[in-house]
């Protein structure tokens, strides 16, 4: 296993759609400084599905926010297709970045304006485009996206968010991201507020999108089972650092780091005895 930190510094960014070099975020200063993210280094290839796994306070969400440009790093760099995100922002703006990198968040109940119909919420996605496609094409793309996530298009368009279940809202969030046709989707706990019975359906939609559209997906989650089901590579985060990374099967079958071992042992499963 090669630890990410071994490649620190200005390693080659060849083929990485999104990469981090010494990415750091410190909250507070002086005696109260809290290093939330501590010199992360990773490369994510186009078309890959990876998961950043950690418990609360591990720095996984802060990392996600920095990857999305929602929070500036206090050290290090995020690279999008080899370009420094800070430079990319200067040239294309944050909205320009979000046309390529989209997100689905944890709380599907907080993601919608309750006074807007689904149609309006979806059409608003075009605000990210400096030149919008013609109106007919706009609606056609919205309809296509809604169909792609397995929802009834005509039924959905006229509805308001309060008429939808959590699962339906989360599917619409994915559909909204699809309208934009991003190359990277960052999914921060996309199913933690969804019932177990609908969880798989939503994850399967994301996996299909990856097959059909080649979208790169980054899951940010505490749910190692979900990460294992969906992702090719796993990054285990603990106290701001990546303590272990590797192919999902490797990590589940042969975890190396003591923290990963503990994390796996702490998950209650049906088959294995849970040592309390």
């Amino acid at each position: 296993m090669v630890l990410a930190t071994a490649r620190a510094g200005n390693g080659s960014l060849d083929g990485a759609i999104l990469a981090a070099r010494d990415l750091t975020r410190v909250f507070g200063a002086g005696r109260h400084a809290n290093v939330a993210v501590d010199r992360l280094n990773f490369d994510i290839k186009a078309g890959e599905t990876v998961a950043l796994i950690g418990e609360s306070g591990s720095g996984k969400t802060t990392t996600g926010r920095m990857l999305l440009g929602l929070m500036p790093p206090t050290g290090g760099t995020v690279y999008y297709r080899g370009a420094d995100l800070a430079d990319f922002r200067k040239r294309h703006g944050l909205k320009g970045y979000w046309r390529h990198v989209q997100a689905v968040f944890q709380d599907p109940f907080a993601s919608f304006n309750n006074f807007y119909s689904v149609k309006r919420c979806m059409m608003n996605a075009y605000k990210l485009f400096p030149q919008k496609p013609p109106p007919a094409e706009r609606l056609a793309r919205v309809r296509e996206a809604i169909a792609m996530v397995g929802l009834d298009v005509d039924d959905m368009l006229s509805k308001y968010p309060h008429q939808l279940s959590g699962g339906q809202r989360q599917r619409l969030m994915i559909a909204r991201a699809l309208v934009i046709q991003p190359s990277v989707l960052i999914a921060d706990e996309p199913t933690s507020m969804i019932d177990a019975s609908s969880r798989a359906a939503i994850l399967n939609i994301l996996l299909e999108l990856r097959q059909r559209l080649g979208i790169t997906i980054i899951f940010i989650t505490h749910d190692i089972g979900m990460a294992y089901y969906t992702s090719d590579r796993l990054f285990i985060m603990h106290q701001g650092k990546i303590v272990e990374e590797g192919p999902a099967d490797e990590i589940i079958r042969r975890p190396q780091h003591a923290y990963t071992k503990r994390l796996l042992a702490d998950v209650p499963t049906l088959q294995r005895e849970w040592i309390l």
């Binding site: 699962g167 019932d195 969880r199 702490d266 049906l270 309390l276």
Partner: protein, 328 residues
């Protein structure tokens, strides 16, 4: 085994301003013995939290009891007047850790104030100092640091907050503790310490029984003696943990068990499908089996009549099983 709690044909509805009833719990019967951990599981909106509220005897408007009985140690719990219930039952016989309790601690008060309130509300003759002392002893007995009594809620981690609340809720040694999603906001490691505490409370006989409400079957696999699966206000299946988890009979239970994403080798090899569709509108539940519309194995009768059949020795509310038994 003595029966602690017995619920018969319980119907608990919410009244909407428009005058409709939302039938959150719609004809549930179950019993709980002393020494038992009963898990209640199901999707959001299935009525499990409402059922917990009724069992905890904390029914408040717009929730009301439409029908049915709740017997607590042989007395009709629904007939008790508010004052008797508050003074003699709540906290002493039945105690609850409601959903999200750890986030409802008063942020401006130290934890010990909550302990003092709980004890002195039931035993006014106990002084504040004595009450704190009792809480301290209890924490130490359970291997928790007694300094948490001097802490403010924000100084404690999520796992510690939830444990502290659980300890304070059981200071008066209630026979029954009802916990509603006690660990769903916690990390796996914190989840484990909370579960450990619950089992220790049982072991030390501080409490005698637990009703554990959760949507996580893997948790119940390790703590529950029996599990009740609820769907749309009714029980779908009720049985011993081993039977229910390892040989579920109801298609809904099978779907739930099949939806679990466990980090165990092999998970990636096949597609997990979950249960398509969503539960019915509880204002107008379907006349037949409530799961009928989503059931992969539904029969013609399922849309017409609610399953009235009980498999011998196991409670499985499903027409399919009747067909199978008849065919034999």
């Amino acid at each position: 085994m003595t029966t602690l709690l017995e619920v018969k044909n319980l119907k608990a509805y919410y009244q909407t301003p428009a005058g409709d009833d939302v039938r959150a719990v719609d004809g549930v019967s179950l019993g709980l013995s002393e020494g038992e951990v009963l898990g209640i599981a199901g999707e959001s909106g299935c009525g499990k939290t409402t059922l917990a509220q009724v069992l905890a005897l904390t029914v408040r408007k717009p929730l009301y009891i439409k029908e049915g009985t709740v017997w607590l140690e042989g007395q009709d719990a629904l007939a008790l007047d508010q004052e008797t219930m508050r003074r003699d039952i709540l906290g002493k016989t039945i105690s609850t850790v409601p959903q999200g309790a750890m986030n409802s601690l008063n942020p401006t008060l130290r934890v010990r104030n909550l302990a003092i309130d709980v004890i002195r509300d039931h035993y006014p003759q106990i002084t504040r100092a004595e009450a704190v002392e009792r809480a301290r002893e209890r924490l130490e007995l359970l291997g928790l640091p007694s300094r948490v009594l001097d802490s403010y809620p924000h100084q404690l981690s999520g796992g510690m907050k939830q444990r502290v609340i659980t300890v304070i809720s059981t200071l008066l040694n209630p026979k029954l503790l009802i916990v509603d999603e006690p660990t769903s906001a916690l990390d796996v490691s914190s989840q484990k310490v909370v579960i450990k505490l619950l089992l220790e409370l049982l072991e030390k006989e501080i409490i005698r029984s637990i009703v554990f409400i959760t949507h996580e079957l893997p948790l119940l696999r390790h703590v529950a003696d029996r599990i009740a699966i609820m769907y749309a206000g009714k029980l779908a299946e009720l049985g011993r943990m081993e039977e229910l988890i390892f040989s579920p009979k109801h298609p809904y239970t099978q779907g739930l068990v099949g939806s679990i994403l466990s980090p165990e080798p092999g998970l990636r090899e096949h597609k997990v499908v979950g249960i398509p569709g969503r539960p019915p509108d509880m204002k107008r539940p379907p006349p037949g089996c409530r799961f009928g519309e989503r059931c992969p194995e539904r029969l013609a009768i399922c849309a017409q009549e609610p399953p009235a059949f009980e498999l011998q020795g196991r409670e499985v509310w499903c027409w399919l099983l009747q067909e199978q038994v008849m065919a034999r």
